[in-house]
Each structure stands twice: as C-alpha cells, then as structure tokens.
C-alpha cells in the first residue's frame, strides 16, 4: 500500500539548535510534498510545498528537502525557539494524505 510515514512521534531539542524532522513515503512517488504545523486544538496551517524536481526550498528559518532516491523529505527549523513547539505534519500533495505527525518540543 502507499504510505507516508513520519518516523518520530516526538522530538525534544534545546532552544537555538536545528530541528530536523523526517517524512518517508513508500510504493508511490508523489509529485509534491507539503508540510504543515498544527497547534493543540487547532487545524493545521500550511508551511511549505516542495515539488519532486526541487531539491530544496526555504522560507525564513524553515528548509525542506526532497530526495526522490531515498523517498524522503527532511524538514529543518534552524535557530529553534520555544514558540516553534507544535506538531508538524507532512502530506502527499497529489492526494493530500497525511503522515502521523511529529510533536516537536523546544526547551528554553
């Protein structure tokens, strides 16, 4: 079956460090991957989209990579802050199926 997986349920890092979250997909190569942020009790909010022919995309302190050989997307938050604490979700842009999410906690 076609799966999109986020390997880590939770990630704890110290303020100022770079957070790296992983999204893997199997049996299907999406043309797009999207990343969302979800705060408790709220709906997800779009962050970044990356196409399969793009290796990297940046937006302020956020960076997304897309490696079609490894079937993987990495999501980086540099100079992390406690306000970055949230759940981050990746999704296949083709059919908008989501991974389970990674809960990021940034400690001061």
């Amino acid at each position: 079956s076609q799966k999109i997986e986020q390997n880590s349920e939770a990630l704890n890092i110290q303020e100022g460090k770079t957070a790296t979250l992983t999204c893997n997909y199997t049996n299907y190569s999406p043309a797009y991957l999207q990343w969302y942020r979800q705060d408790p009790g709220r709906g997800p909010v779009f962050l970044l989209l990356i196409r399969e022919n793009e290796k990297e995309k940046r937006k302020e302190r956020l960076k997304v990579t897309f490696d079609t050989t490894l079937k993987q997307s990495l999501f980086h938050i540099t100079a992390s802050q406690p306000a970055d604490s949230a759940t981050y979700l990746c999704a296949r842009g083709d059919d908008m199926r989501f991974g389970a999410g990674t809960r990021l906690t940034v400690k001061p």
Binding site: G41, G43, M96, F98
Partner: protein
C-alpha cells in the same frame, strides 16, 4: 474572507443518532476535504470532492456520507453514530489545477459518541 468555517464546534451524540457536520468556504476553492483526527494521531481522509457534484472516498469512508451541491458547501453526514466515530473532524479546501495548492483548514468539530 471568513476562510473555512465549520459548525458545530462541539457535539455529543448518543449511539445510533445521526447528524450533519457543516463546512463552508468562501475562497472559491474547487477541492474540499473531510478528515478525522483521533487523539495523538495524524489526519485520516474520509471523503473529498474535486468540484460541485463530484465526491470520492478517502481512507476511512465507512459510516459517513457527503454531498457537494455547491462550490462553497461540503457537509459530512454521520448515520447511526458509533463510539468509534468519536474524534475531531476537520474540513479543508484548496484551489488546484494539478497537484499543488496549499490546504486551508477549518477550526474543527469535536464529536463525542456515547
């Protein structure tokens, strides 16, 4: 723009009851989606629509029905509610002519079936 709106915000149903979750968007988006999110879990796609009059099943459609008579509205119907349908339901929409286009989510409906 109000974006994506959902009503009600909260609802408690008894087993076997039925209800309709309302979703509306004012952004003229062609695609609309319904997801459910169980505690601590990701989003599971229930149904989606690529335009008025067209709907299709997602990953977990059993126990639900949808309709899309207008571009703006995409109601989700629960027939014969079961405890397994206790969840938070999110509606989303996006504009796309291919596979790009970010999704905009509503605030969610928290449903409890007892």
């Amino acid at each position: 723009n109000a974006g994506v709106t959902q009503t009600p915000k909260f609802r408690i149903l008894k087993i076997g009851q039925s209800m309709t979750l309302q979703c509306a968007q004012d952004m003229n988006h062609n695609y609309m989606y319904w997801y459910r999110q169980d505690p601590g879990m990701g989003l599971k796609l229930i149904y989606y629509s690529v335009g008025a009059g067209i709907t299709d099943k997602g990953e977990v459609p059993n126990g639900y029905n949808v309709s899309r008579s207008t571009t703006e509205d995409f109601p989700l119907r629960l027939e014969l509610a079961a405890p397994s349908q206790t969840s938070v339901y999110f509606c989303a929409s996006r504009y796309t002519t291919g596979f790009d286009g970010e999704q905009y989510f509503g605030p969610g409906t928290r449903l409890t079936v007892t």
